[in-house]
């Protein structure tokens, strides 16, 4: 039926038109309608427990949102109603100095443009009701209590919405009706929502039959017939499977509206392969193009950090790449969209064919590049962490790079954020800010000759306070139950809501802590110790020099800058970075979350190296006040000067077995080092020169497991900015920024500059 109606060329053309249409949307009002519905109907269900209440509210929301099927939709469904125009980094008015986190859940009401329909009164009325909910009031208390610690970001905390990987495989196979028979009462009601939604879309499609062209009528009939099958029953082909996936995703996001960033798909190639039924690569790719467009929300693709994985291995090390993997890559390459993110799990037995097919992504300017994961290393690390063998093939990525198990792991990934250089600053001064002079904490002034121990003591002090606050945020959020999502996170078996803070609903649970600035701290230790040996006369002046941002102390700064730095394979500097990573990881792991599980050290800094750096005074490594911190585990920009080989060797020494929450690392690679002619050969060359040394050459311990790259040069990007019409005629020039893609031209100037700086070509030179 489907193949009679659509050729793959037709499906592709419609996907491209659909994306253009989506990008033309200037308003996102659906989330407000959903929130308004929730606020106005809450009392109606006050007699029920929280889960049941939320399930009924979800049904009301599904009935309230306006639906649309445009002429280019071959599938019905959207996640537009779950997102607002909020994500700061893709907002051109964003300023580093004004960023204050996403701590105020009512701030989103500022992100809607007032018009005749959405009047100020209407918006304010809902904001008022919302601000009195237990969730918002409890969260405000948590933030107020932590204010002294968070105002200059010694740490930061947030309530974590999204950031999970639901397992839809059972639903796709057996259908929602089957699940409802097994589900706890609240979850059963919540599951009805997706059936209601499908029914509404089906009715709309039927209405559109009137006056439709013959061609469109055939397409609409396919939609109508498909919605007779899914989501109630299991999917029998790829078209039905994609349709069902989209509707489940829509309801899941709506349940957490607004802005449940970073929900991720998991291994889409493995999820969809069983439904392909021999469909060829071209046709499969064309359908998947619509799947990819679905993840893009409005004019700037506001649903950020949704991640799709491909490839990887099984427990015995066999490769799991399949035909859908290659079709999905074709879809990504041809569409080149800002969302969703593409990640690839590589391992020792990854076939060269896959590297070859990846070549075009790395070496076509302005085309998205996948994040790379070392599946061998992830298996070792997570196995040691306690993940069962049977779950290891389902290692997925929530958001940017945090590894967790699809459908089984509530990792609360971005719950807390620790700013090590700020803690070092406060250690050196005894709790006084070098930027404002304000006393921020009652801690003793550290002793330079004992700086490491004094620093770690204060990390312990702040980590405890951070964990308390982060747990407070998680507890506040537990007022907002998620019975629908819970069905895909182990709740079908356990009956426990995924946000329950007293009973563990998911097989695995933890809370994340993003640790910032290891290289600044370790380079500072080295510089302080060398200074005490060689220039003890500087010791008494150091704190003043930092306070004055080295003005009048240029000689001291020269000396500090000349000391050994992490990233050059110099033993003392690298050992210091290893020590900081180990000790801080241990301190963070020893903190317990609301269920008594450990916090997971995550050494990543999704642009927060810039935001938090703004709140750190000058540091003893020679860095000036308010300058960026190092990105993730990478050396600070400009400090690794001996090229790629030495940088990788330094990088390899870090204790990856402790980075159970993940980490971030980026290489800006100059394409001139790759001399093969074809994209396929360049892809294999990329394996030999970058992937093999980084991922597969460490002989002991856990090897690095994550990398993202931008294959370009600072000069190229400056040309793109100066003349976007020439270098990016489509208006889209995709770059990687931490774990996600962005349209480089959409970014705020500060973030554009950050990307250019961090290409740091000296640190990745492949020639000598």
């Amino acid at each position: 039926m489907m193949q009679k109606i659509y050729s793959p060329e037709k499906i592709t053309a419609m996907a491209k038109d659909l994306f253009r249409y989506e990008r033309s949307k200037q308003r996102l009002d659906g989330w407000f309608i959903a929130k308004e519905t929730e606020c106005l109907c809450k009392d109606k269900y006050s007699q029920y427990d929280e889960e049941t209440k939320k399930a009924y509210i979800l049904k009301e929301m599904v009935n309230a949102i306006p639906l649309e099927i445009s002429e280019n939709h071959i599938f019905v469904g959207t996640q537009d109603d779950a997102f607002a125009k909020s994500y700061a980094l893709i907002n051109p008015t964003f300023k580093v100095e004004e960023f204050s986190g996403y701590c105020d859940p009512t701030a989103v009401f500022n992100d809607i443009d007032i018009n005749e329909e959405f009047t100020k009164e209407r918006i304010e009325k809902i904001r008022e009701i919302y601000s009195k909910t237990p969730y918002v009031t409890q969260l405000s208390e948590v933030y107020n209590k932590a204010e002294n610690d968070t105002k200059e970001v010694a740490y930061f905390i947030e309530q974590v919405t999204g950031h999970l990987v639901p397992d839809f495989r059972y639903a796709l196979k057996y259908g929602v009706l089957d699940m409802m028979e097994k589900a706890a009462p609240a979850m059963k009601i919540a599951l009805e929502s997706v059936i209601i939604l499908a029914k509404r879309y089906q009715e709309l499609a039927k209405e559109q039959l009137n006056g439709a062209s013959k061609e469109r009528a055939e397409q609409l009939k396919l939609i109508i017939d498909t919605l007779d099958v899914v989501p109630k029953k299991g999917a029998t082909n790829l078209y039905e499977a994609i349709q069902m996936f989209i509707l489940l995703w829509q309801v899941m996001c709506l349940e957490q509206s607004p802005n449940p960033f970073a929900f991720s798909v998991g291994n889409a190639d493995r999820i969809f392969e069983p439904y392909r039924n021999g469909l060829d690569r071209e046709y499969t790719a064309s359908l998947l193009k619509h799947f990819l467009v679905f993840f893009n929300v409005a004019d700037r693709s506001w649903a950020i950090s949704q991640n799709i994985l491909v490839s990887g291995r099984d427990i015995d090390g066999n490769d799991l790449t399949n035909d859908t993997t290659y079709a999905l890559l074709d879809a990504y390459y041809d569409m080149n969209l800002p969302q969703p993110i593409l990640s690839v799990k590589l391992h020792k037995n990854t076939p060269d064919k896959l590297y070859g097919e990846l070549g075009r992504f790395f070496f076509s300017p302005g085309v998205l590049t996948p994040s790379l994961f070392n599946d061998d290393s992830l298996y070792s690390m997570l196995s040691a962490y306690g993940v069962d063998d049977e779950d290891l093939p389902d290692i997925s990525v929530a958001g940017c790079q945090e590894p967790l198990i699809m459908g089984k792991d509530n990792a609360n990934t971005t719950n807390s954020w620790l700013n090590l250089p700020k803690i070092l600053e406060l250690t050196l001064t005894g709790g006084i800010s070098q930027l404002t002079g304000e006393k921020l904490a009652d801690i003793p002034k550290g002793n330079l000759s004992n700086i490491r121990e004094d620093f770690y003591k204060n990390v312990g002090f702040y980590a405890k306070r951070m964990a308390d606050s982060a747990n407070g945020a998680a507890m506040a959020l537990s007022n907002e139950r998620v019975p629908f999502l819970s069905c895909f996170m182990g709740g079908l078996e356990s009956g426990i809501d995924q946000r329950d803070i007293t009973k563990q609903g998911t097989k695995y649970n933890g809370s994340g802590c993003l640790i910032h600035g290891i290289s600044i701290v370790s380079d500072s230790f080295i510089a302080i110790e060398k200074m005490l040996n060689e220039h003890p006369e500087y010791a008494d002046k150091l704190v003043d020099a930092l306070k004055n941002n080295f003005e009048g102390y240029e000689e001291i700064r020269e000396f500090l800058l000349s000391c050994n730095k992490y990233g050059n394979n110099i033993p003392d500097a690298d050992n210091a970075a290893v020590e900081v990573t180990n000790k801080v990881a241990d301190i963070v792991s020893s903190q317990k979350n609301y269920l008594g599980n450990s916090f997971r050290p995550d050494f990543s800094s999704p642009s927060t190296h810039l935001l938090y750096g703004y709140w750190v005074g000058a540091t003893p490594d020679g860095r000036k006040a308010r300058e960026m911190l190092g990105y993730g585990i990478d050396p600070l920009f400009g400090e690794a000067t001996n090229g790629m080989g030495f940088r990788i060797l330094s990088n390899m020494k870090l204790p990856y077995e402790k980075m159970v929450g993940g980490y971030a690392s980026h290489l800006g690679i100059d394409p001139k080092y790759f001399r093969s002619e074809s994209y396929e050969d360049k892809g294999v060359e990329f394996k030999v020169k970058i992937v093999n040394p980084l991922f597969f050459s460490k002989d002991t311990g856990v090897a690095p497991f994550y990398l993202y790259v931008n294959v370009t040069t600072p000069e190229t990007l400056r040309k793109v900015l100066a003349n976007p019409k020439k270098y990016a005629p489509s208006g889209v020039y995709i770059m990687r920024i931490h774990g996600t893609f962005v349209n480089f031209l959409d970014l705020s100037p500060a973030i554009q500059e950050d990307i250019i700086k961090r290409l740091d070509p000296h640190s990745t030179a492949l020639g000598a």
Binding site: P571, G645, F646, I648, L649, V688, N692, A765, L766
Partner: protein, 234 residues
Amino acid sequence: MKIFQKGFNYSQDGPGNRLVYHLSGCNLKCRWCSNPEGMVQKPGKYTEVTVQEILDEIISCKPMFFSGGGVTFTGGEPTLQFDELKKLLTLLKKNEINTAIETNATHPRLCELLPCIDHLIMDFKHFNKDIHKEWTGLENTVTFENFERVCNSKINAIVRIPVINGFNNTPDGFVEYFKTFDTHNISFEILPYHEFGKVKWESPYTVENGFITKKDLESFEKAFINNGLKIIHM
């Protein structure tokens, strides 16, 4: 030892991924030199390290010597620091590390190093001593002797010929000279002139119109092949 630059490259100066050390100082003054900053051992322009320190560093880099890689010493001219280089190469062989040197082959004791070198890369810039001296500041009598010794030694060696317009852009003379030897262990690499290092020259750069044509390059390679001389491209 005096080092002015170090870093990794892949399959350029020997096989696989290699850590390349540029040793400071050179006895030639080639007009086209692409590393002029390494010609003279000027204080502040190099880092002084002991043999043991370099050895430790190289051992710490072992994971990066993949695809048959290892260490290459180039310059400047590495054999100017002969005794230390010999000591280091001996220690590297004891540690089973693949070694290569890239040399202008003007050092009379070059062949003493051969037992601890896996890959010898030697320049042979001209077959005429006077022209060689005019363009490099030194006659290459010793290079001729070393070439003969290398042919007899059976070590696998690459002989590099930088081809520069106005200096040596025809194969005549080269072929006649090389074919008098048994060169079965030698591969020849023809390097067309480039100006990657021109910006680094502090004194005036005196090569004009040094680029060779594709035809020149082809005639070089053809003449070598026709005379049974092996050509390689790295």
